[in-house]
Symmetry: C2
Subunit: 216 residues, 2 copies
Amino acid sequence: MTAKRRYRLLCPIARALDVIGDRWALLIVRDLHAGPARFQDLETGLGIATNLLSTRLTELTEAGLIEKSTDPGRAVYQLTELGRRTDSVLWELSRFGSQLDPDPDPREPGNLRTIALPLRLMLQAVPNRPNLVVRLLVDDDSFTITSSTDDVDVEYGDTSTEPDLTARTDYERFLDAGEGRISPDEFATQYLDIIDGADHTDTFLALIGAAITHPG
Amino acid sequence: MTAKRRYRLLCPIARALDVIGDRWALLIVRDLHAGPARFQDLETGLGIATNLLSTRLTELTEAGLIEKSTDPGRAVYQLTELGRRTDSVLWELSRFGSQLDPDPDPREPGNLRTIALPLRLMLQAVPNRPNLVVRLLVDDDSFTITSSTDDVDVEYGDTSTEPDLTARTDYERFLDAGEGRISPDEFATQYLDIIDGADHTDTFLALIGAAITHPG
DNA sequence: CGGGATCCGTTACGATACTG
DNA sequence: CAGTATCGTAACGGATCCCG
């Protein structure tokens, strides 16, 4: 029943921060951009205390950014349309953060939902995307990339659709490539294993290369 | 000597939030986009406690976003090049925040540095900008808009350059227009007084109209 | 076992008073 | 004017406990 701490300024930036400015709020939203997630997915992915996650989830729900669907008995959280509109904010934050020195003593996340949104936004900037469904394995996590000319989606986990191609890489290298510390070529040839669907290799490498190279 | 609270995650978004995610940090940066400011300018503009402003300023300085120039004996804070690169983040936050319901019980800011950055970013999106220097009076605050084809700047306060045109409006209407609650035409004809330099009126109105209308 | 709620020590924030 | 010092309050973080 305690009133939440707010700026209460007229300006839209302060208004936005009143909703997504609290600690963890944007990171939770970011992870949900990778698709619906359960309580524990978010907890282990972020390393957030359960009480904080709980309060953030209700606050974000009240603000209309996320919603809880208890369809099959087990709670699942997902973004609303309003919540999905945070993608530009997150994208610009990501671009700004890439210019900063990385933490000297980083903490590994419990899962890699983290990278689904940046990946999608990079792919989104590529013109003339091919029609392609890719299963991308990063360490022990799996992503399904669904590319078409009109749209592109990156979902965490295996989805029902059968992929055209399956590839594997590791998290560190993926980050290096995404932030420009290694070249697309070096990444593609050295750190990307094509496991299945090799006949789509050229299409896939062109897509990845364009995504990394593109100014954003 | 206590270690600052950080996410310490590898992802660039978390890295960005470790620097500009603290309460007030982004709003301070936003106000500095309006040009150099003194301690008290920021305090009254935001309504922030002085101890918090003090710690934020040193943190932002350590992070390399701002710098203090004590040239004439009086401390003046201003953005560094890195700090200026927050403009895209702030712009997207502003766009997101405009979609949210305004606070039911808002608090008036002590000054209007707030709106310099949104205004500049709106103008920046206008193609074929005219060469024009405008003094815009909003309530008791003054802005100097320097427009050219290549670039546009909005500084808080009167600058040395003599304006081609001087106009006046009020804060509420300005916000209404910027967030699309009233039309550019309605704003220009009803709530914008041309005080001086009337021969540049058409040029100015075209610029303002385009800025408001433009998708951003 | 997943999905939280409760408790409690620590840190951050906010208001005000005070100092160079 | 530009901060520092103090102090009460709110938020965070870790752990444990509870409930279906």
